[in-house]
C-alpha cells in the first residue's frame, strides 16, 4: 500500500515539476500576474518594443556565430550591431536552408531543436518544408497561446474570463504542422478538451472534429479553437442547407445533448431562422486560423455569436502577430522573431531583378502601406533575414481604441499568390475569396488562374453547391461586381478600358471531393489534399474539369465531408 502511495506521490511530483509557470498561475487564480506575463507586450511603447527586438537579435547573432548554418549565411562575419547585421547579411529564402533543414540536421543549428514542424513545399523539388523549433521558442509560444485565449474572451484589458475546466473544441491540424506545434503547448491540463487528448491522438483529424462536436453538444462548449473552414463547416451543419441533420438525430439519445438541442430549436424558432451554433452555446472565446478567417469573419460572428480572434503565423516564424479584443488589426509579438519590412515597390523590383538587394525598414520606421515581411528567428531558431514571401498591410501605427502603441497590421497575401491583371491591379487570394463569398452563392470550393488568350483574363473555376439554376455568366457577373467593390483599380480597369477580365467555369458536382479522394489514394499529406486556390497547375484543372465527374463518391465520404 505504502509503495502505491509513494508511486502516486512521485507521479504527482513529476507533474508538478513539468507544470509551466503559466499553468501554475492560472490554477492558483493569479490572473493579474498571468495577464502581465502573457499579454503585457501590448502595453509596450514602440521604443521598448524595438529594444527587445534588437537585444534578442544580438543574442541570436552570438549564437549564429557559433554554428555552421549561421557562419554560412553570414559569410563568416560576426556583426557587432543591428545596423551592421542588416548591412552585411544578405536576405535569404528557403533554398538557402534546404540542404540542412530538409535533412533535419541538428548539428548545424544555433540551438538543438525540441521538435520539427512542416508545411507544403515547392512543387517538383520537395514536398514538405521543414523548420525546427527550440525549447525556448516553445516556452515563448506557450505564453502567446495563453494571450490569444485571453484576448479572445476578454472585454476589457486585464480581465480574464476563462476558468479551469472550460470546455474546448480544438480543431487545429495535428503535429507536425505548425498549428500542431500550438497543440503541443496548449495547456491541456487546465481545460476539458473535446475529445480528450488521449482519444484525439489515436483518431483521424476528421473523426476528431466529429467527436468533438458531439461531445460539445452533450457537455457544452466554452472555447472553440479551430481552422476558419472548420468553424464555418460546423456552423453550416445547423443551417437548412447543411447536410448533417441525420447525425444530429442520433445524438438525441443523450439527454443533455437533447436538452441543448431543444433549447437551440426554441431559440432559432423564436428568431425565425435556421438553428445556429450560438443557439446552443454561449462561447467565451473563439480563435480561428487561416487566410479565410478574414473572409468568413462576419459569417462566423453570425453563426457563433462572437467574432473570431485571428492570428498570423507560419511554419518558419510560428507566431508573428495576434489580434486583440477589438478584432481589428493584428499586433506584432516582440520576442519571437526579429522583424524587417521591405516596402512593396522594393519587393516587386527585387522579384523582377534577382540581383537587386532591397532595403528593409524596422517596425519603428514604418508608415501605413504594404510591406513584404522579413524575419530572423530568435531564441536559437535557424532563419536569418528570411523572406517569408508574405505581404502585410500596416493599417495604422497604433491602436487608438485599445491604446496599443505598436503598429497594427493585416495579412494581405503570399507574394506569389497574386494575379496581375493587365498591369492595373494585383488581385490576391484573399480579395478573390471575399468577392466570391460576398456574392452569396453557395459553393464547394474554387480555384483561379490567369490565362492569356487574346487578352489576359482571370479564369475562375468554381463548384457550386446548388448546381442547377446557376450559369457561368451569372456567377461571372456577380463576382465581377463584387471585385469592383473590393478593389478600386479593378473597377477602374473596366471604366478605363471597358474590359471585363473574368471568365467562369462551373465545375461538375463533387469535383473537389474527387480530387481529395485521388490525393488521399496517392498518399498525399494533409496539406496537399486540396488544390491551391491560386494558379494551380494544368493537370489539376484538367482533373477538376474533365476527369472528376467520372469518379463515384461514396456516401460515407460525403458524410465526413459535411
Amino acid at each position: 500500500m505504502r509503495v502505491i502511495v509513494l508511486k502516486i506521490y512521485r507521479i504527482a511530483k513529476m507533474k508538478e515539476i513539468k507544470m509551466s509557470v503559466e499553468v501554475e498561475l492560472f490554477q492558483k487564480g493569479r490572473y493579474q500576474e498571468l495577464w502581465q506575463r502573457c499579454c503585457g507586450f501590448i502595453d509596450l511603447s514602440i521604443e521598448d518594443f524595438m529594444k527587445i527586438q534588437k537585444r534578442l537579435m544580438m543574442e541570436q547573432i552570438e549564437m549564429l556565430g557559433k554554428c555552421e548554418l549561421g557562419r554560412m549565411i553570414m559569410n563568416g562575419s560576426r556583426p557587432e550591431s543591428i545596423e551592421e547585421f542588416r548591412e552585411t547579411v544578405p536576405l535569404t529564402t528557403y533554398e538557402d536552408y534546404a540542404p540542412y533543414l530538409l535533412k533535419r540536421r541538428m548539428d548545424v543549428l544555433p540551438r538543438k531543436p525540441i521538435l520539427w514542424q512542416c508545411t507544403s513545399g515547392k512543387s517538383g523539388e520537395y514536398s514538405l518544408r521543414w523548420a525546427p523549433v527550440t525549447a525556448r521558442q516553445l516556452d515563448e509560444i506557450e505564453q502567446i497561446i495563453f494571450a490569444m485565449m485571453f484576448f479572445s474572451s476578454c472585454t476589457e484589458k486585464g480581465v480574464i474570463n476563462l476558468r479551469k475546466n472550460d470546455k474546448v473544441l480544438y480543431g487545429m491540424a495535428p503535429p507536425p504542422y505548425t498549428t500542431g506545434t500550438m497543440t503541443r503547448v496548449f495547456p491541456h491540463e487546465l481545460f476539458t478538451l473535446l475529445p480528450p487528448i488521449e482519444e484525439a491522438e489515436v483518431i483521424s483529424f476528421e473523426e476528431r472534429i466529429q467527436r468533438g462536436f458531439e461531445m460539445a453538444l452533450d457537455q457544452g462548449l466554452d472555447i472553440n479553437i479551430a481552422l476558419s473552414s472548420i468553424t464555418v463547416a460546423i456552423g453550416e451543419r445547423f443551417s437548412k442547407r447543411g447536410e448533417g441533420k441525420t447525425s444530429i438525430k442520433s445524438l438525441l439519445k443523450k439527454p443533455r445533448a437533447a436538452l441543448r438541442l431543444a433549447k437551440g430549436i426554441v431559440k432559432s424558432k423564436l428568431a425565425r431562422r435556421p438553428m445556429l451554433p450560438r443557439d446552443l452555446w454561449n462561447l467565451k472565446g473563439l480563435i480561428t486560423f487561416g487566410i479565410d478567417g478574414y473572409v468568413y469573419k462576419e459569417k462566423i460572428k453570425e453563426m457563433w455569436g462572437r467574432y473570431p480572434l485571428d492570428f498570423y503565423g507560419c511554419t518558419e516564424a510560428v507566431l508573428i502577430a495576434v489580434q486583440t479584443w477589438d478584432y481589428q488589426g493584428l499586433t506584432f509579438i516582440p520576442n519571437l522573431n526579429f522583424l524587417e519590412f521591405i516596402p512593396e515597390k522594393e519587393s516587386i523590383r527585387s522579384r523582377q531583378d534577382k540581383n537587386y538587394q532591397p532595403t528593409t525598414l524596422l517596425l519603428d520606421e514604418l508608415k501605413p502601406g504594404n510591406y513584404e515581411l522579413v524575419i530572423s528567428s530568435l531564441h536559437g531558431g535557424p532563419f536569418i533575414r528570411y523572406r517569408l514571401g508574405h505581404l502585410v498591410k500596416v493599417i495604422s501605427l497604433r491602436n487608438e481604441k485599445l491604446d496599443i502603441d505598436i503598429p497594427q497590421v493585416t495579412f494581405l497575401t503570399r507574394v506569389d499568390d497574386q494575379i496581375d491583371i493587365a498591369g492595373f491591379t494585383r488581385l490576391s487570394e484573399k480579395v478573390i475569396w471575399k468577392a466570391i463569398e460576398n456574392t452569396g452563392i453557395y459553393y464547394e470550393d474554387w480555384i483561379v488562374r490567369k490565362e492569356v488568350k487574346d487578352k489576359p483574363i482571370l479564369h475562375l473555376y468554381i463548384e457550386p453547391k446548388e448546381n442547377g439554376y446557376l450559369t457561368a455568366e451569372h456567377v461571372s457577373s456577380l463576382v465581377h461586381e463584387e471585385l469592383k467593390k473590393l478593389d478600386v483599380p479593378y473597377a477602374e480597369l473596366e471604366s478605363f478600358t471597358d474590359l471585363k477580365p473574368i471568365e467562369v467555369t462551373l465545375l461538375p458536382e463533387n469535383a473537389f471531393k474527387a480530387y481529395k479522394m485521388k490525393q488521399k489514394a496517392a498518399g498525399a499529406d494533409l496539406v496537399h489534399l486540396k488544390p491551391e486556390h491560386i494558379n494551380p497547375p494544368d493537370n489539376v484543372i484538367d482533373f477538376l474539369v474533365n476527369k472528376a465527374k467520372k469518379i463515384k463518391i461514396k456516401a460515407e465520404e460525403e458524410k465526413v465531408e459535411a
Partner: protein, 846 residues
C-alpha cells in the same frame, strides 16, 4: 431608551457612511458585492436597533422584529461569502444560490412566526427563545464561514506579492474578529443577551474598508500590533477605572454613586492623558513578541538609517548596512552592485555573507541590459520571480536570466541619486523560504530612499580617497599607500603571526626608452607594466608604483619561494607582451620577505631593493631573491665577464660593417669613440655612462648601411632628395640596434647625435639640454673627426681650423660647454691627454 441600543445604532451609522463611500465605486464586481454586504450589515444593525431601542415594546413587536434580525444574520454571512468569492476571481457558484435561498426561507418563517417563539426584556437585556434555530443557523452558516477562511488562507499561501498578501491578511483578521465576536459570543451564556455581535461585524467591515482603500500602506502585522496595543491600553484604563469605582463605592459608601462615577471619569481622563508613555511601553513589548530575534536587528537597521547621513565611506556603508539587513529581515544574503568604471557594467562590489571565488562572475549587468534600463526608469523593487512577467524585460538574454536565477537573490532595489541609477541592492531570499512581508519591503524602502544620495557621496569620497592613494598614471596604489600598507601588513603579521613577501620591480633601460621614443611613449610603458602586474598577481596581492619606473608588489601570506614564482610570472608576462615592433621591455625584480629579511619595514624594502640591484648587475631581465644578495660576488663577476666580451664583440663587428661600407670613413668610428670617451672622462661621468658613450660612438653611423653608396661617395653637394636617407640614418641605426638588449643604452646618443643646440638638427629637432649629454658629446667628437679626415667632398682641415670651426658653431650646432671641454682636451699642449689622442688619431689615419 435602552443604552444597549447604542451599539447597533453606532454600527448602523458607520455602515451607512461606508455604504455612501462604496456605492459610487461599485462598478467593479468586487466593490458591488462589498456594497451588498455593507447593505446587509446595515439591515442587521438597523433591525437590531429597532429591537433594542424600546424596552417597553409589546411582545408581538419584539417577536416580529427579532425575526427580521435572525434573518439578517445569514444574509450578512452569505453576502460576505459572496464578496470574498468575487475577491478571489470566482463566480458565485451554487453555494451562493443556496445561501440566498436559505435566507429567503428563514425570512418567510420569521414573518410567519416560526423562528422566534418568545421575546421579552429583563431590565435592559433582551431574552428570546429561538430554539432550535440557533443551532440550525449555526449548522447552515458554518460551511460558509469555513469555506471563506479556506479561500483566504489558500490565496495568502499562493500569493508571492507582498501587497496582495497584506490585503488578504487583513481579510483573514477581519474574518477572525467577526467569527470570535459575532458568532461565538451569542452562544456564550454571559453574552447572549447582549448585542456585542454587532461589534465584531463592525470591526470586520472597518478593516475591509481600510484594506480596500489603503491596502498597500499597512501590514497586517502592523494592524495586529496596533490593535493589540490599543486593546491592552484600553484594558488597563478600564481596569484602573473599575478598580477606582469599586474602591470608591466601598470607601465612600455615603456618597451618591453619581459623584463616584464623576470622580472616576476624572481619574480615567487623567489616566488616558498620561497614557502616551504607557502606549509606548506596551508597543515596545508587543514589538518584541512579534519580531522575536529580529527585533534588535530591526532596531539596529533603523538606527543605522538615522545615522546614515554621517557615512562617507562605501566600505563602511556596506559593513554597517548589509549584515543588519540580513539579520533584520532574516534573509540569506545581500549584494551591492555598482558600475564598473571601465566597462560600465554593474558588478557585485560587496556581498554579505562574503562569497568564495570571483565575485564579479556571479552577477554582471551590461549598461544596455533591460534590467538596468528598468531599474533606472522605475523606483520599484524588482522581484526576481516577476522578471518573466514584465514585458520590458523580455529582451533579457538567456544567460542573464540564468545568472539572476543562480544568484540566490529574491529582489533587486535601485539606488538612485538625482533620478539616475547609481547602484543596485540585491536581497537574498527569506531564510524561512516564504515571501517578503510588507513590512520588510517598507523597511528596505525607507533605507533605499535615503541611501542613494549617501552612496553618491560615498562614491565621491571614495574617488577622492582613491585619488589620494592612487598613482594617476598607472592606477596602482602610490608610494604613500605602499608604506602605509607595509606597516599594516607588519602590524597584522606581528599580531596574528604569518608572513608576507615583497617584490621590487624596475623596468630595464627605461631612461633609454624615454630618450628614444619620448616621454609619452614611456608613460604608455608604465601603464602597460601596471596592467600586466595586476593581471599576473593573485587577487589578494597589492601592486604599487614605488616611483619612476620602479614598482612594488606586496604578497600577503606568501613565502619567499612562492613570491619568486609570482615574480617570475610577472617578468615573463611583461617580456612576452612587448610588441615586436618596439624596443623590448624587460624588467628586473628583487624579492624580499617579512620577517625572514628583517622585522622593520626599511629592512625588508632594503633587501628587496638590493636583490633588484643584483638582478640589474647580473644582466637584467631576471629575478633575484634577497638571499642572493648575501652570496659572494664571484658569480656576478663571471656573469659580467661573460657578458662584456660578448657585447664588445658585437659592437666591433657592427662598427667594422659601417667602416667597410665607406672607405673614406674607415677608422672613423673608432676615432670618434676615442674623442668622445676623452670628453666623457673630462666630464667625470660614471664608468657605465662612459661605456655607453664608447659603444654609441662606435655605432653612431650604423644607420648608414641603409644609405646608397652613390650618395655616401658623392663629391658634389647633395640634393634635397639625397639628404633624406642621410637624415634618416640615426633612426635607422636605432631600428637596427634596438633588438640588442646590451646596446639599448646607446640608442639615445645614436638617435640624437645630429641634433643641433639651437633645435635646427634632426631627427627630433631637440635643443639645448633636451639633447642627451651623450649625444651632445658624440656630435662634437663626430664633427671634429669628420673635419679632420679626408672626405669625397673636401680636404681635411688642420687641428686649429677644425677647433676654430667648432668654436664658431658652438651655441648653434654644438653645446658650447662640450666644445669648450673638447677644445681644452685637444688644443692646450700642456694637456698630456690631448697629445695622446692626437698622436693616436694620426697613427690611425695614417
Amino acid at each position: 431608551m435602552n443604552p444597549w441600543a447604542i451599539i447597533p445604532f453606532v454600527s448602523f451609522i458607520v455602515f451607512a457612511v461606508l455604504l455612501i463611500v462604496v456605492i459610487p465605486q461599485a462598478k467593479k464586481r468586487t466593490n458591488r458585492l462589498f456594497a451588498i454586504f455593507l447593505f446587509a450589515s446595515e439591515i442587521w444593525s438597523f433591525t437590531a436597533f429597532l429591537l433594542l431601542y424600546n424596552v417597553n415594546a409589546s411582545t408581538q413587536y419584539l417577536i416580529y422584529v427579532n425575526g427580521l434580525v435572525i434573518a439578517a444574520i445569514p444574509l450578512v454571512v452569505i453576502t460576505y461569502y459572496h464578496f470574498l468569492r468575487a475577491y478571489n476571481d470566482k463566480p458565485g457558484g451554487i453555494g451562493v444560490y443556496i445561501g440566498y435561498a436559505v435566507v429567503l426561507v428563514i425570512l418567510i418563517l420569521s414573518f410567519t412566526g416560526n423562528v422566534v417563539k418568545d421575546a421579552y426584556f429583563e431590565g435592559n437585556l433582551l431574552h428570546h427563545d429561538i430554539f432550535p434555530w440557533e443551532f440550525i443557523l449555526a449548522t447552515i452558516l458554518t460551511p460558509f464561514l469555513t469555506l471563506t477562511l479556506l479561500m483566504l488562507v489558500k490565496r495568502y499561501r499562493n500569493s508571492t506579492d507582498p501587497i496582495d498578501r497584506n490585503r488578504t491578511a487583513y481579510l483573514i483578521t477581519g474574518w477572525s474578529i467577526l467569527l470570535v465576536i459575532s458568532y461565538i459570543t451569542p452562544f456564550s451564556p454571559a453574552l447572549k443577551t447582549l448585542p456585542t455581535d454587532h461589534i465584531g461585524n463592525l470591526i470586520n467591515a472597518l478593516i475591509i474598508s481600510y484594506a480596500i482603500t489603503r491596502f498597500s500602506l499597512l501590514d497586517i502585522r502592523l494592524v495586529a500590533r496596533k490593535l493589540l496595543t490599543y486593546i491592552a491600553v484600553l484594558g488597563i484604563v478600564i481596569g484602573i477605572s473599575a478598580v477606582i469605582v469599586v474602591v470608591g463605592l466601598s470607601i465612600f459608601t455615603n456618597q451618591p454613586a453619581l459623584y463616584i462615577i464623576l470622580a472616576t471619569a476624572l481619574v480615567t481622563f487623567i489616566v488616558i492623558v498620561s497614557a502616551r508613555p504607557l502606549i509606548h511601553i506596551v508597543e515596545l513589548a508587543i514589538d518584541r513578541i512579534f519580531y522575536r530575534r529580529t527585533y534588535d536587528y530591526r532596531q539596529a537597521l533603523l538606527n543605522f538609517s538615522n545615522k546614515m547621513g554621517n557615512i562617507l565611506d562605501m566600505d563602511e556603508l556596506a559593513k554597517e548596512m548589509m549584515p543588519a539587513m540580513v539579520n533584520a529581515m532574516n534573509i540569506t544574503q545581500t549584494k551591492l552592485l555598482f558600475q564598473d568604471n571601465e566597462s560600465g557594467d554593474f558588478k557585485v562590489r560587496y556581498a554579505y555573507p562574503k562569497i568564495k571565488g570571483e565575485m564579479e562572475n556571479i552577477l554582471n549587468f551590461s549598461p544596455d541590459s533591460p534590467l538596468v534600463d528598468w531599474l533606472d526608469k522605475k523606483s520599484n523593487p524588482l522581484y526576481i520571480e516577476q522578471v518573466d512577467n514584465i514585458a520590458e524585460l523580455k529582451g533579457l538574454w538567456h544567460t542573464e536570466k540564468e545568472q539572476l536565477g543562480g544568484s540566490g537573490l529574491g529582489v533587486l532595489y535601485p539606488f538612485k541619486s538625482r533620478g539616475k541609477l547609481i547602484g543596485i541592492l540585491g536581497l537574498g531570499k527569506k531564510s524561512s523560504g516564504g515571501p517578503y512581508s510588507h513590512e520588510d519591503i517598507q523597511l528596505v524602502n525607507g533605507i533605499t530612499n535615503q541611501v542613494g544620495i549617501i552612496i553618491e557621496n560615498a562614491q565621491l569620497y571614495h574617488q577622492a580617497k582613491t585619488r589620494a592613494n592612487t598613482d594617476e598614471l598607472t592606477g596602482l596604489y602610490n608610494h604613500r599607500s605602499f608604506h602605509e600598507r607595509m606597516e599594516q601588513e607588519i602590524a597584522r603579521g606581528s599580531r596574528f603571526g604569518g608572513t608576507f613577501s615583497l617584490i621590487m620591480l624596475d623596468i630595464d633601460l627605461f631612461k633609454s626608452y624615454n630618450d628614444i621614443y619620448g616621454h609619452l611613449a614611456g608613460d604608455q610603458v608604465l601603464r602597460k607594466v601596471g596592467r600586466y602586474l595586476e593581471s599576473s598577481m593573485r587577487s589578494i596581492d597589492l601592486a604599487f608604483r614605488y616611483g619612476g619606473e620602479e614598482f612594488a608588489v606586496i604578497l600577503p601570506e606568501a613565502r619567499l619561494d612562492d613570491a619568486y614564482k609570482v615574480a617570475e610570472r610577472i617578468r615573463k608576462t611583461i617580456e612576452s607582451k612587448t610588441s615586436s615592433r618596439a624596443m623590448p621591455i624587460t624588467t628586473s625584480l628583487g624579492v624580499g620577505n617579512w620577517p625572514n629579511d628583517g622585522v622593520m619595514k626599511e629592512e625588508v624594502i632594503g633587501l628587496a631593493d638590493a636583490a633588484l640591484y643584483r638582478a640589474k648587475q647580473m644582466g637584467r631581465n631576471r629575478t633575484c631573491l634577497s638571499s642572493d644578495v648575501l652570496k659572494p660576488d664571484t658569480s656576478l663577476i663571471g656573469v659580467e665577464l661573460e657578458a662584456r666580451p660578448r657585447a664588445l664583440s658585437i659592437i666591433y663587428a657592427l662598427a667594422a660593417t659601417v667602416d667597410a661600407k665607406d672607405s673614406y670613413t674607415y677608422g672613423h668610428s673608432r676615432k670618434v669613440s676615442e674623442y668622445a670617451v676623452a670628453i666623457a672622462e673630462a666630464y667625470k661621468l660614471t664608468q657605465e655612462r662612459i661605456s655607453t658613450i664608447r659603444a654609441a660612438s662606435l655605432l653612431h653611423d650604423i644607420g648608414k648601411v641603409g644609405v646608397p653608396d652613390s650618395i655616401l661617395n658623392k663629391k658634389t653637394p647633395l640634393t634635397e632628395e639625397e639628404w633624406k636617407p642621410i637624415k634618416a640614418h640615426p633612426e635607422l641605426g636605432v631600428e637596427i640596434l634596438r633588438h640588442v638588449i646590451d646596446l639599448v643604452n646607446c640608442l639615445p646618443a645614436i638617435l640624437h647625435h645630429h641634433e643641433h643646440h639651437d633645435g635646427s638638427g634632426y631627427p627630433a629637432g631637440l635643443s639645448g639640454d633636451g639633447i642627451p649629454l651623450e649625444a651632445r658629446i658624440l656630435a662634437v667628437a663626430d664633427a671634429y673627426d669628420a673635419m679632420t679626415s679626408p672626405r669625397p667632398y673636401h680636404e681635411p682641415l688642420s687641428l686649429e681650423e677644425a677647433v676654430e670651426e667648432l668654436k664658431h658653431c658652438a651655441g648653434t650646432q654644438f653645446d658650447p660647454e662640450v666644445v669648450e671641454v673638447f677644445c681644452k682636451i685637444i688644443q692646450p699642449p700642456e694637456h698630456p691627454r690631448s697629445l695622446d689622442i692626437r698622436a693616436r688619431s694620426e697613427d690611425d689615419t695614417g
